[in-house]
Symmetry: C2
Subunit: 329 residues, 2 copies
DNA sequence: CACCATATGTTAACCGGTTAACATCTTAAA
DNA sequence: TTTAAGATGTTAACCGGTTAACATATGGTG
């Protein structure tokens, strides 16, 4: 690897001068610039970012901690986050916590040691105080951690309400909500609140079951959904907390001979791209995933640059009605 | 952020001594170690990895360039790659090329500037010579670049053959293969070869259409599949080059009233996790994704450590027959 | 007692950049 | 003609670690 010294020697100037060209500081003739750039080209020179980062105390790296990149929701968060970050000159260091406390903790330490400029937390299994002691710009997705840490989230409460109201409006008499982990203090929990408030208001029979206690295990979904229908064969409406779980519900309905939407109506959550291949076509609450990702990165970079950012960033959800809730008006 | 100097001062020793403790070099009393570790704890000290990397000329970072992390296949590659890399003390810098040449090129330069120790190329839209001039350990997934660059791939040819034979065996008379991009010189192209050799051998009517010319655009799939059935209404077998495309085929069949598997039989490729939610349940050629990812990382780390690695690494595929190819024995 | 392993210290160079401070020379404007 | 801006150079410190080289002190062993 060529260094700045090699470039300087080739051009016949000092490293200071080359550095000046690189950073465009001070007075520089067009001719000099041309010669320096040409030498860089010829030597295939790239400035060593480690050295620059060390000196500048800025790595231009953002840590992204999520539970599981292979889950479509986080995959989509990641591509949009990466895309926007790249545009702004930042790189993404990828961490999958698998909702494992010690792994998440280790990752946070690793990111700090790696001198990342900030962290986007899409996984948050630790205690609030752990996050407050990180001492680095942070943005969380879907969780409110403290007064000082900004968060980005879609309007889960509204989503829960929309989904539940739709099921009631479409004639459902007994509705189940399959929620994500309710103990992690996620804002996603307010989907549950929206659900509960709505079924209570309309005095509708309801059941709630919880998933995602230890990560996103599809096998776990299968067991939960099977049990749910075994214990409550009279369910006629399901509000699932992700499109994947909704797909699992549809699969189970098919297995036990319940027709969707005739016998059971289903609403998912997320609006992931692969969701469009679910059969019958899934009614879902669409989160503005791209916007969530972009906002998270933007808020983080703003913080890195020392700008004040709003603490609460709730983005709107959208009900997309397809086949799984049709009929029975 | 506390530095090694702060730790040294607190313990009352020299930085050299602290560095010795950190790296466990030379003679060190248990007492000293204890005192140093305690001071690190108290100061919440983490050694600056930028400084270490700079000196060691080793960053312990691996660049991962893939077309799109939100595509389930690459999402799964990524989580397994990250998981194994982490176990071996490496971090992952994530790059999505979106199959865009200039972006891929920029990413390669960025990774070099960031002093990554090696690159896993899951996207390869550039000319072979560009990769040969990278001058860094590389492993490719699904593409053979040169004699010196090792590659990991599943046995696509076998997969193409298995899929096609199954369709023929199940009675299909006219089969379409919806392939990925055939111009990128991917090993995935040998699925096409397996398909062609098989239909030729059994003298079966066939059609081939190509997707993924400019990234993974699901809208593109829709158009291609619609056109395919419009032009060839007599198709009774489809071998799709991904589970996602197969799902699109199923969706189109449903739209135009073709029954699967009665009228049309379908085989997918990949064996992605979300594939299990496709209805009817999809017959597919399962790639050993976890093994591919792990092997790629392992080969890269071996190269980084200066070990000779085998150039060709073809892993076996597995036919998983489900509902979309049933009947007509 | 000599010797060596153990345990720590000091100093300085190095990794590859950036930057401040100061010097020198040319050229154009006042 | 003076003055200032433009265009470079030199030197050295700094970022936060690592490491080689060499010094010193202690304690146990042959």
């Amino acid at each position: 690897m060529a260094t700045i010294k090699d470039v300087a020697e080739r051009v016949g100037v000092s490293v200071t001068t080359v550095s000046r060209v690189l950073n465009n500081r001070g007075y520089l003739s067009e001719d000099l610039k041309r010669r320096v750039y040409q030498a860089m080209e010829e030597l295939n020179y790239q400035p060593n970012e480690l050295a620059r980062s060390l000196f500048r105390k800025k790595s231009n790296i953002i840590g992204l901690i999520i539970p599981d990149i292979s889950h479509p929701f986080f995959g989509e968060i990641a591509i949009h986050a990466e895309s926007y970050a790249y545009k702004k000159g930042y790189k993404i260091l990828l961490c999958n916590s698998r909702l494992n406390k010690s792994k998440e903790k280790e990752y946070i330490n690793m990111l700090k040691a790696s001198q990342v400029d900030g962290i986007i937390m899409g996984s948050h299994t630790l205690d609030t105080k752990e996050y407050n002691s990180i001492n680095l710009p942070i943005v969380t997705i879907d969780r409110q951690l403290s007064d000082s840490i900004p968060y980005v989230s879609s309007d889960h409460y509204k989503g829960g309400e929309l989904a539940t109201k739709l099921l009631i409006q479409r004639g459902c008499k007994k509705i189940a909500h399959i929620s994500g982990n309710l103990k992690l203090h996620l804002l996603a929990k307010t989907r549950y609140d929206g659900f509960m408030d709505t079924v209570t208001k309309f005095q509708i029979l309801h059941v709630v079951v919880e998933t995602d206690l230890n990560g996103f295990k599809y096998e776990e979904y299968e067991q939960i959904v099977t049990d749910l229908f075994r214990e409550h064969p009279d369910l006629d409406g399901i509000f699932a907390s992700s499109d994947i779980i909704a797909a699992q519900v549809l699969k189970e309905c098919r297995r036990i001979g319940k027709r969707v939407p005739e016998d059971v109506k289903v609403v998912g959550f997320d609006g992931i791209r692969v969701g469009e291949y679910i059969t019958p076509e899934l009614t879902t609450i669409q989160q503005p995933i791209k916007d969530i990702a972009k906002t998270a990165v933007k808020l983080l970079i703003d913080q890195i640059n020392g700008t004040e950012v709003p603490r609460e960033n709730i983005l709107p959800v959208k009900l997309i009605e397809k086949e799984t809730t049709l009929g029975n008006e």
